[in-house]
Symmetry: C2
Subunit: 226 residues, 2 copies
Amino acid sequence: MAGGERRLQILRVAMRLFSQRGFRGTTTKEIARAAGVSEAMVFRHFATKEELYSAVLDHKACLHDDLDPLQRVADAIARKDDRAVFEGMALDALNQHDCDPEFQRLLLHSALEQHELAHMFWEKFVRRVYRSLRSYIRQRQRDGAIKHVEPFVIVRAFIGMIIHHSLNNNLWDRERQLLKISNQAAARAFTEILLNGVATSPQSRANGDGRQRSRVETPKRKRSKK
Amino acid sequence: MAGGERRLQILRVAMRLFSQRGFRGTTTKEIARAAGVSEAMVFRHFATKEELYSAVLDHKACLHDDLDPLQRVADAIARKDDRAVFEGMALDALNQHDCDPEFQRLLLHSALEQHELAHMFWEKFVRRVYRSLRSYIRQRQRDGAIKHVEPFVIVRAFIGMIIHHSLNNNLWDRERQLLKISNQAAARAFTEILLNGVATSPQSRANGDGRQRSRVETPKRKRSKK
DNA sequence: AGCGATGGTAAGTAAGCACTTACTTTCAAC
DNA sequence: GTTGAAAGTAAGTGCTTACTTACCATCGCT
């Protein structure tokens, strides 16, 4: 097997094991065995276990790196279709966590172990999502469509619903005993709650078919405060 | 030092270290040193490291065991004061996580390691909170104060906001760089979003009374899939 | 005084860990 | 057909780990 191939294979095996058992819970021998090679092979490709771990985290993180988290909903943003914006982001995140639960586990492990990835991910991804969403929310607040609540609070509330739901599905309630719901339905429900929760005038959303409504509703309504 | 005292002291030290570094990341030697005794002392009080870990988890978990999570807001429930119910629970949880961040870390570690505590906590605490809140929500739905959304979805959304906020504060953003907000304000903001998000009609919320309104409009079947 | 229970330790032990060394096999390029 | 590097390994090395043993010290109690 060629060098690059083997390296990648070891990386993938390590990724799986690290995400299952954490850094300290995984031995280099296990990794080697799972990859079907000797331990020495692992250390030929990665100088230390730490380096292998970093490579794993890098490999995962770089997938999230270069894409703007709001890009997938860019047209919804342009249309100022709040529902499409939030529901799209939610669905994206839920699907992502669903088909790659390893990442969430790795992230948690590294956060608990205070590995630099946790910090990096925070800086490079989380902050960006927060800022992007804030700028959108601010705009919609100026439009009079969203209440003048601190935007970051809204972002946190929304991301909280989504991440916590994923965490439940991946970590605690894998059988979905407590709540069995499709990602679609979850994204829709959470979005509904959030948007109704922060809308300036509830009537504008209450009748539910705000979906696919192309025009922005109530551009300059009177802004009532809390 | 008397036997019981020492045992408790070791337990507390272990609690701190386990929560910081996890089970595998903490050595019995470290625990002994931090407790100012020899390693043999640790093993006199706890037969194995596993047993010590279990004792730690038990000790933490039993604090949450015998109290009804909704007891603290019982009068608010009786009054059907939704705001007080949810805000009270949120504030309680946030304060709890604030003054005992160890617990959240221990819980996460044990969930990742698939330790039985994770399951126990889920069964004994989480499920109960979910069920209690559901029963309250159902009642308020019958009252016509809350939309007919699956109650567990509402619970998950609400708990999600709170837990995720705590997780942020304890794990990722301890400096509160991204969002600095008091527990009071957070509890109020999240409650506001949730209640407005699931209220049947804005008026019924606005003046705070839970007046019975006529049957709820359920737009469930109205929507067609895209 | 003596004695056993209790609180404590120094110095192990065997297994497991990350990592190394010294060696063999494979195979394409001259 | 030789060679030289790359792919691969068996068998270590030294250190750390959870856990043990064998022994000391200080009591309260007859």
